[in-house]
Amino acid sequence: VTVDRRPGAGRRDLRHRLAGLLLGERLRLSPAVADRIDLGATALLVALAATAWLTEDGGFAGWSRALGVAVGVAAAWWRVPFLLVVVLAAATTAGLRALGLP
């Protein structure tokens, strides 16, 4: 049963993606509106980062990940190189888990 639905969902997805690209070339937006769209894309990504940061299966993801990512964000704030930010976050989370924090 799943076989029939998944490609369909994917094709719709691609159409959404293409729609934005094509519209972006054709629309002449005022700077204010374009700025809002810009902000909207950022807001979506921030929301995605927040849910990936704090939630899992509809509940709190646990303090290890929350604190680990917080360390990563702090590092990014102090302009630590990108790869190091990722490694720091993952290593902190792993360390906290090894110490027994959920």
Binding site: V1, T2, V3, R5, R6, P7, G8, A9, G10, R12, D13, L14, R15, H16, R17, A19, G20, L21, L22, L23, G24, E25, L27, L29, S30, P31, A34, I37, D38, G40, A41, T42, L45, V46, L48, A49, A52, E56, D57, A61, G62, S64, R65, G68, V69, G72, V73, A76, R79, V80, F82, L83, V85, V86, A89, A90, T93, A94, R97, P102
Partner: protein, 191 residues
């Protein structure tokens, strides 16, 4: 789901969210309608992505189709952290191919409808994605905070020239103007 089918779908679709969602809904006994509506809802977020990314993706049809295929959360974030123009375009391509290669193992973006697994991952791998995304977004947010009138005119001009050969028309959306606005603020995200 048979392995070849799963792999084929990932190549064709590259849409972890819709795939997970459809499988989850069907596995939970949901009907066709929730699967379809949920997929539409997840897909709708690509509309603002596309609007913001249009200046980066080329104008030819192959470029558009490839760009649309690769238009996923991480790619947008990488490209946004890199500004616009030639550099962002190359960056987008590279990030895209990376996501494509990591494909199924890192279905990226939509961790929400992931299949239920109660045990936390032993290593901190699950912290890497949100940390990376946040690191990529910080420069953009920094630029926004500064935007309240404090951006010097000189920086604006420099950014605009760097954004590409042609001057940016006022109606050109998002990306081009972002480069003009926050030209200096994105040094942090460079790997």
């Amino acid at each position: 789901v048979p392995l070849p089918l799963a792999l084929g779908l990932s190549v064709l679709v590259l849409s972890g969210g819709s795939q997970f969602l459809a499988v989850s809904v069907v596995a939970a006994g949901g009907g066709l309608l929730p699967a379809v509506v949920g997929g539409l809802l997840l897909g709708a977020r690509h509309l603002p992505y596309g609007l913001a990314m249009a200046p980066v993706v080329g104008r030819s049809w192959p470029a558009r189709l490839l760009g649309a295929h690769l238009l996923i959360d991480e790619v947008v974030a990488f490209s946004r952290a890199r500004g616009t123009g030639e550099r962002a375009g190359r960056r987008t391509g590279r990030a895209g191919s990376r996501s494509w290669r990591s494909g199924r193992s890192a279905p990226s973006s939509d961790t929400s409808p992931a299949p239920p697994s109660r045990t936390p991952p032993p290593f901190g791998v699950d912290a890497a994605f949100p940390a990376a995304l946040a690191a990529l977004l910080l420069p953009a947010l920094r630029g926004r905070g500064r935007q309240g009138g404090a951006v010097p005119a000189g920086r604006r001009g420099r950014g605009r020239r760097r954004a590409g050969g042609d001057p940016v028309p006022p109606g050109r959306p998002a990306g081009a103007r972002r480069a003009a606005r926050g030209g200096g603020g994105r040094t942090a995200a460079g790997p």
